[in-house]
């Protein structure tokens, strides 16, 4: 067995995925929770869109943008939450020291959390996307390759945020738990999920264009309203995501090192 921090093992990553899968499987409320909020949100925005489409010509033309935004927002939000909640499970169960003194590498831990974020997202969003077809005739899957581009960019952002939040939790313990639940809402107004960037005041537009999800939501509106797939927007999002992901990874490793200095890996409570 080699001793490098970067000597990654599929077996150890698989062990962590198996651990989270056992946990999900053991609790039906946990499984239900993955579907419940996305379904409620989709229904609420779906009915709202149905209402405004009856009264306004623009919304009639722009059919599906609200529902599309809701479902894409859920990829972003639930992707990060899926990552962070799996991490929090280790702190809630006081298991973190067991893992940190095992041969599990931090990067393997992060990869397992990414995989679980995809698993949790699939459990939540696949049924909800099918409900959207049944209730409102909105077929997210009909976006085809564009959906793949939207999804890849959103999930990269959600992982980057999840990695950063995990670092903060390692360093500061469960006192920082609220960050895991709320940090993504900072992006909700700034990434222009439900409205175009042009609505924002000029200084905030600059902030919005610095955020990868903004390009995805603009791209989604371009596709649904103007029926144009903006590959340029997706490439910008990808470029920014690479930067954000690298910064989050460096921050995570620095926060982990700081946690070792401060002794916070032993005391992960509040």
């Amino acid at each position: 067995m080699s001793g490098s921090e970067w000597d990654l093992s599929a077996r150890r990553i698989g062990a962590m995925v198996e651990r989270y899968w056992y946990l999900l499987r053991s609790s039906w409320p946990r499984l239900l929770d993955l579907v419940y909020w996305p379904a409620v949100q989709m229904l609420m925005w779906g009915f709202l869109q149905t209402y405004v489409a009856q009264t306004d010509g623009f919304f009639a033309r722009a059919g599906g943008t609200f529902l599309g935004a809701v479902l894409l927002w859920d990829i972003l939000f639930r992707g990060q939450l899926g990552f962070s909640v799996s991490f929090l499970e280790e702190m809630w169960s006081r298991n973190l020291a067991n893992l940190m003194m095992s041969p599990l590498r931090p990067v393997e831990f992060v990869i397992a959390l990414m995989i679980m974020s995809l698993v949790r997202l699939a459990i939540g969003l696949v049924p909800v996307s099918l409900l959207a077809i049944a209730f409102f005739g909105f077929n997210l899957w009909g976006l085809g390759l564009a959906l793949a581009a939207f999804f890849a960019n959103l999930i990269l952002t959600s992982w980057a945020v999840g990695i950063f939040v995990s670092g903060v939790l390692l360093r500061n313990g469960l006192g920082a738990e609220n960050l895991a639940w709320t940090i993504m809402f900072l992006l909700l107004p700034l990434a222009c999920v439900y409205y175009p960037v042009a609505v924002l005041p000029a200084p905030l537009q600059a902030v919005a264009w610095a955020l990868p999800p903004t390009y995805v939501f603009e791209g989604m509106r371009a596709l649904m309203i103007d029926h144009v797939f903006r590959a340029d927007l997706m490439l910008w999002a990808l470029g920014l995501n690479i930067v954000v992901f690298a910064v989050a990874t460096v921050a995570f490793l620095a926060l982990l090192k700081s946690a070792r200095r401060q002794g916070s890996l032993l005391q992960t409570g509040e």
């Binding site: 001793g3 077996r11 056992y22 946990l23 893992l99 590498r105 890996l265 032993l266």
Partner: protein, 256 residues
């Protein structure tokens, strides 16, 4: 699994180890060396620096200065060279409560690279009387049963270095005695190096061939149980511990 290397190098070597937190020095210059195959008790009252010392040995806490080497690897910098040859058990660290005992042990077996996982778990379950508990959720077990599961986890990879932080805390005397017997057997069969932090002096007298007493982050005394009893003129380690904790040893030395 890697076998125990035949070498005279110490299993654990701390050299002028210091850990300073914002609140003050937890460990203030500790030097010791534990030969392979030894069982050492780490004693001291609350705040003596035992847990911080063990955490530095495990690579969970980075020393402020000084060095700590485990099986020749400097911790925490070279920890991945040796973590698969170590393990630990503490009542203050738990395993996921919703997972069954078997699931938890399977996950940790994979993390430690254990071969023949099912066979290893079956053998440990037999040795630690866990067979009937294997498919129960860990959270549904009594504290004594959880301690046995934690010990099974600590022995999964047949560690050459085993760190135990109060392994029998909050257990009834019968279960505690039972755990000690298993540790004695493991030491005898594996030849492992064991470092044991405990408040239970009977446990230390029974298991350890050497005792390190810490107080306020430094080593107050270090020797065999017999040597310590002779040094302090006491008949039990309990009395020695109380002398050290209450400062009577310093008063006696000052009087002499």
């Amino acid at each position: 699994m890697t076998g125990t290397p035949v070498t005279d190098a110490p299993a654990i070597a701390a050299d002028r180890l210091v850990k300073i937190y914002k609140s003050g020095a937890a460990v203030a210059g500790v030097t010791f060396s534990l030969p392979q195959g030894s069982v050492t008790g780490l004693l001291g009252g609350n705040g003596a620096g035992k847990t911080t010392t063990i955490a530095m040995i495990m690579g969970l806490v980075m020393p402020t200065s000084g060095t700590i080497r485990v099986l020749g690897a400097e911790m925490p910098r070279q920890r991945y060279r040796v973590l698969h040859r170590m393990n630990f058990e503490s009542p203050y660290v738990e395993m996921p409560l919703r997972l069954t005992v078997r699931q938890n042990l399977t996950v940790f077996s994979r993390l430690y690279g254990v071969e023949d996982i099912a066979g290893r778990i079956a053998r440990l379950a037999e040795e630690l009387d866990l067979v009937a508990l294997l498919d129960r959720p860990t959270g549904k077990l009594s504290s004594g049963q959880k301690t046995r599961v934690a010990l099974a986890k600590a022995l999964l990879n047949r560690p050459e270095v085993l760190l135990l932080d109060e392994p029998t805390a909050s257990l009834d005397p019968d279960t505690a005695d039972w755990i000690r017997a298993r540790l004695e057997r493991y030491r005898a069969t594996r030849g492992a190096t064991i470092l044991l932090a405990s408040h239970n002096m009977g446990e230390v007298e029974r298991l350890c061939d050497r005792v390190i007493i810490m107080k306020r982050g430094v080593i107050e005394n270090d020797g065999t149980p017999a040597a310590l009893l002779a040094h302090y003129g006491r008949s039990t380690l309990e009395e020695v511990f109380l002398d050290v904790a209450r400062g009577r040893s310093e008063a006696r030395e000052a009087a002499q």
